[in-house]
């Protein structure tokens, strides 16, 4: 879409949704290319030279990037026009979109509801049809869950597929660059552009991605699709189950082979605590550099330590400080084996289970969320229920394993979307997106009109 139209639309929805931290007056562009027709929004944890980059945190609320993230460079080199930096949960550490220092993000399809998080603003600007593609990052499900809540495609490719150079980290062994598009074909085109080994990010894959966007057929005949039964077992929302069962029927009509996979339920219940420990321990270490001495919003103090303490107390919200305390607790010598290392071991067992489940099939699927987007106020989850521990948070398996995983819209309930998530074997984005393309054809999704 025209970048100036995009900017106008972003400004129009900003007051109601708070989707952006920065909206550019003029699109940022470098040259013309095959993506010249694309307007791009960038999550505000991607660094851009000369541009405010806050990661949704007060401590970085005055930070101006001094270089471009690799993925930003790649998009600009292909002609894309960057129009905004979007709102996120502080430092990406949240799943609601409510914790940025600039205030909560509201879902443009219904302002009483969340857009999801942490890539909340990116999902919201897509839901409002304000851009063609929005960059996000995905450490637990931070692209794939908001995609479900906002009725758009959300892809997290294989770990290492896209460079993370210039992305403010959360938990390095789980962080992925991901993004939102309006359709699967755009997701495939974007992946071809953004992928590739980057000497500035030694975790990027050396393997080349074969160009495949023009090969997407979407033919589901004889595709082997496994339903993640444990996830379905704990979803109690009849509308979600109805949409999903309808989808299965359609897939069977198309000639897909449907099977059902059941993993070790006790092991699956440890997904969320394992994630919580790994993510918070890694985050605690990653964010030790946010001292407001070399950069960041500095508070007054008599000496160096007082400056740091005051800056970090004011600079991080309560939730973050709580998570850092828990992360630090998990890393203490006396707890490390029992918590951090134990979590790393369970991570391996969980990935082994997923690998086994994918052995004989092309993808494994389940609803991307157990129901539509929660309201802005909602936080009534029973934190020890299987629904919470398994059905609501199973997509962390994609981060533990690094396997590619995509959410595509599955349908609407009361004018709010809900998505289906597909996960494939490592490096196999071609199969993942081909099947997702097939899903898109049989679902023929129509996004609700929205209220802004």
């Amino acid at each position: 879409m025209d970048a100036n139209v995009s900017i106008k639309r972003l400004k129009e929805i900003q007051q109601a949704t708070n989707a952006c931290i920065t909206i550019f007056d003029k699109p940022v562009s470098k040259k013309e290319g095959n993506l010249s027709h694309w307007s791009v929004a960038v999550k505000d944890n991607f660094v851009m030279k000369g541009v405010l980059t806050t990661a949704g945190s007060k401590i970085l609320s005055n930070y101006i990037g001094v270089y471009d993230a690799t993925v930003v460079t790649k998009l600009l080199d292909c002609g894309a026009k960057i129009v905004a930096k979007t709102t996120l949960d502080e430092l990406g550490m949240g799943g609601t979109g409510l914790t940025s220092f600039t205030g909560p993000v509201k879902n443009p399809l219904n302002l009483n509801h969340q857009a999801g998080g942490s890539s909340a603003g990116s999902a919201a600007v897509m839901a409002a049809d304000a851009v063609d593609i929005a960059l996000g990052s995905d450490t637990g499900d931070s692209v794939r869950k908001p995609a479900s809540f906002c009725g758009v495609v959300g892809l997290k490719p294989t770990y290492g597929r896209i460079s993370r150079y210039g992305v403010i980290p959360y938990a390095s062994s789980l962080d992925h660059v991901g993004y939102f598009t309006h359709n699967v074909k755009d997701a495939a085109v974007a992946l071809e552009v953004m992928t590739g080994f980057d000497p500035k990010d030694p975790t990027t894959l050396l393997e080349h991605l074969v160009k495949f966007s023009h090969l997407l057929k979407g033919d589901l005949k004889d595709k082997k699709i496994a339903v993640f039964q444990n996830v379905l077992d704990h979803i109690d929302d009849a509308d979600t189950l109805k949409l999903f069962n309808n989808l299965i029927m359609k897939l069977e009509n198309e000639g897909a082979h449907i099977s059902f996979v059941v993993m070790d339920a006790n092991l699956l219940k440890t997904m969320l605590p394992t994630y919580y420990i790994l993510a918070n321990c890694e985050a605690t270490a990653n964010h030790a550099n946010l001292t407001a001495i070399n950069f960041g919003l500095q508070q007054d103090g008599e000496d160096l330590q007082e400056i740091m303490v005051n800056s970090r107390t004011v600079g991080f919200n309560e939730t973050l400080r709580k998570r850092f305390v828990i992360g630090s607790f998990g890393l203490k010598d006396e707890n490390q084996q029992e918590l951090f290392v134990k979590a790393q071991k369970i991570r391996r067992l969980l990935v082994n289970e997923l690998q086994e489940a994918l052995d004989d099939v092309d993808v494994i699927i389940a609803p991307a969320s157990s129901s539509v987007a929660p309201t802005i106020q909602e936080d009534d989850a029973d934190k020890l229920s299987s629904k919470h521990l398994i059905s609501e948070n199973y997509m962390v398996l994609g981060n533990f394993s690094g396997y590619p995983s995509v959410t595509v819209p599955m349908g609407n309930v009361n004018d709010l979307p809900i998505g289906v998530n597909l996960t494939a074997k490592a490096m196999d984005e071609a199969t993942l997106l081909d099947i997702a393309y097939g899903f898109e054809q049989v679902i023929a999704y129509k996004k609700p009109k929205g209220v802004v």
Partner: protein
Amino acid sequence: MKQFKKEEILSLANELQFSLSELEISNIEKEFEVLMAQLSLMNDIDTSNVEPMIYPFEAPIAYLRSDKVNHVLSIDEALKNAPKQQDNFVVVPKVVK
């Protein structure tokens, strides 16, 4: 099950270089109860003879680049976000008093 006392929370916050209010401490204590109940699920899993998984893939991804200086920020860029600076240094209050 591990305990999480107020003194320990304060000591961790001190190491982490931030303060917590009384209310925040009490919220952490409450959250910790839930977390400990969740973490106890991990104790039910037998992880003997399991190697910790540090990164998603076992394939070696480390490489050696040639030993040439590349990709450096200029002094101006490096200091661009420093709250206080003078003569190419970041300025902090006197440390040795």
